[in-house]
Symmetry: C2
Subunit: 396 residues, 2 copies
């Protein structure tokens, strides 16, 4: 048994972690655009990176470390993704981190992360100049979470304290960025998670992958990830406490909350919708169908108009490529069944009930394929007017 409760300080809530956000003059009005995370003892580290074949320079730099390796520092800049920048992009990282280590010799195997414009070299001089503002003992989670933002409308952070049965406790916290544009497609998702749990190295990657499946992956667009997407987990074991089940639960809750925050930050979106597909023949098909629904622009626009358009939902399932049959399919808006096994239930009364569900800010649409036992929930938001303007104007 264990319990968890939210606490302040996000990515520097865990013992031994520090963070801050500073301005290198990359954003307007001296808004913070460089963040760092520091641990006063070395950390185990694991990362999940984008599937995009053109992984940005910071990802290539990370991969150049001989694994397994320990680190105590992450440097993050916004406004520039350092992607498609070739050899110069990597050299710039090395130069910046060398200057950093001159200032703070205790920094070991530093990791860099970037988000912003693609195809432009880093403003290296400005970044190097700003390193002097780094104070390793600062605990300014808010500044760090603001510094990593690009198109986000609000900062995203959360931390938990987890109390185990034997009264030992550990902490886990994170900052992340990303805005659910049409989907979170190609708007980089970065998530930095720190913990003082005494998690064994070999648990880190499997638990990270497990938690991702139902959270960040449930809002993502397969085949449409940015050059920079990163989830990084740093653990320094300082609390000496650990329980695998409790850690996975806390990690999942953390990532779930942050993933939904990313969705809520969609331009012009007004609704958060869970698309549940049940009764699919395979897990792969359940995921495919659920994501097809959460990504269907015709479905999203109907939801924006609060229109219980079950026809578009059925058609999207039919087009998704999974095995399905109109005679076994069922569709629900919330608890209201509008179609089941070849029968349409959409008289005036039911249509009104369904429309009422769609007036809510948040609800679930369920499709039971009726051919198997597998299920998946994908999350999506509706599509509003704002989205086009922001995308047409932003060079990223």
């Amino acid at each position: 048994m264990f319990s968890l409760f939210p606490i302040d300080n996000g990515v520097c809530a865990s013992e031994g972690f520090f963070c801050d956000g500073i301005s290198a003059g990359l954003k307007q009005d001296s808004m913070p655009d460089i963040a760092f995370i520091y641990s006063d003892i070395p950390c185990e580290v694991e990362a999940l990176f984008t599937q995009n074949k053109f992984q940005a320079a910071p990802i290539l730099h990370y991969k150049n470390y001989n694994t397994p390796f320990k680190t105590n520092f992450v440097l993050i800049n916004s406004k520039n993704a350092n992607a498609l920048t070739g050899i110069q992009g990597l050299k710039n990282i090395e130069e910046i981190l060398q200057e950093l280590q001159k200032l703070h010799p205790q920094i070991h195997n530093p990791i860099m992360s970037s988000t912003g414009v693609i195809g432009v070299q880093l403003p290296k001089e400005k970044i190097i100049q700003s390193l002097q503002k780094i104070h390793l003992r600062h605990k300014n989670n808010k500044q760090a979470s603001l510094a990593i933002m690009t198109t986000d409308k609000f900062n995203k952070t959360l931390a938990f304290e987890v109390l185990l049965k034997d009264k030992s406790r550990f902490r886990i916290g994170a900052i992340c960025k990303g805005a659910g544009m049409i989907n979170p497609s190609l708007a980089t998702m970065l998530c930095f998670i720190t913990t003082d749990a005494a998690i064994p190295k070999e648990d880190m990657k499997p638990l990270l992958e497990e938690a991702s499946k139902t959270t960040f992956n449930a809002i993502s667009v397969d085949g449409d990830t940015s050059t920079n997407d990163t989830i990084l987990l740093l653990s320094n074991g300082k609390s000496k406490a650990y329980n695998k089940e409790a850690f996975l639960f806390a990690l999942t809750q953390l990532m779930q909350h942050l993933a939904l925050e990313i969705l809520r930050d969609g331009e012009g979106s007004t609704k958060l919708v869970a698309f549940e597909v049940k009764g699919a023949k395979s897990k792969k098909e359940a995921i495919k169908a659920a994501k097809a629904l959460s990504q269907s622009l015709l479905v999203k626009t109907a939801l924006f108009g609060c229109d219980p358009n079950w026809g578009r939902i059925a058609s999207t399932i039919g087009a998704s490529g999974i095995e399905c049959d109109p005679n076994t399919l069922e569709i629900y808006f919330g608890e209201v069944c509008v179609y089941a096994k070849g029968q349409i239930f959409f008289d005036d009364d039911n249509e009104k009930k369904a429309a009422k569900i769609l007036q809510q800010d948040s609800y679930k649409i369920t499709c039971n394929i009726g051919l198997g036992k597998e299920s998946f929930i994908a999350y999506g938001c509706d599509l509003g007017y704002e989205y086009v303007k922001i995308n047409a104007d932003y060079r990223s």
Copy 2:
């Protein structure tokens, strides 16, 4: 050698074909909503249908005919797709066509086609009432092309006369409907093609499929087709003229023109863009990458803003799943190279040249993957403000 030139009368240009559009009172203001195509001698027929697993009742009805079969009549209604309508949907078709054959006993193996709202039974009585207005000898191509429209802003039709080397000639013509919403996704594409060419039955399907690949399929969204998409080809051989190469050329030109018309009819779209992918390892990959580009909402919004955002183009290729390498990739806006093999060519001068290309109404973006020999051109349009409003309000 052969030559072709455009002629009037679209789908009833070919000898022995007749057509018209009438009103069954399904649309407002007595606009035509029922179309028919009739041939005074029986026709060979081939069809390409949607890949959607929930094929609409009219498609199921067609498939119930014992193939091969000849037909001389196609009845098309708009405002209702007769999709997800179960057994009743099929019965309604049978009843309507029976009434039709009572009025015109010479009608043989009639085909029905529908487009419009999904999940609502056909307004059968109104349709049956309207059948009396059908005059088999009418040649009203414009009315027919208006009758099949749903969200289209303009009717789409074209016909060619083809002159062969031996001075023999045949005709081929069509009407179609579809509007390039975000993509033509889930806005049904219907295309009815008639010809008096003496095309052998066994050539019809292969040539239809061949011509579709670079035309209708080059604007479509894989995994996102409506319940009703149909391309129908009727041939009555009346001209006694035929040449395979000439027919394929004419058919392809016809479908190309109509496919681009569908794209131009996208809500709020202002530009027509060809996305050419060259140097891919396989044809499948060339198609995958080209379609990823033509469908990428971040690319489409950048194009709307006339922004030569090559970073989004590169990132979309990298996310598409094909084999690619930043060190072999080249990107061109028109003839202007902005990125090649790890080098960025985007100084002020080049950026201005690229931006000028993007001011045009129509242009090509080329990506050379540099890993193979296969290529494909997908067509897309930009994404404007109008699109959300129309989709949120339309129950279809």
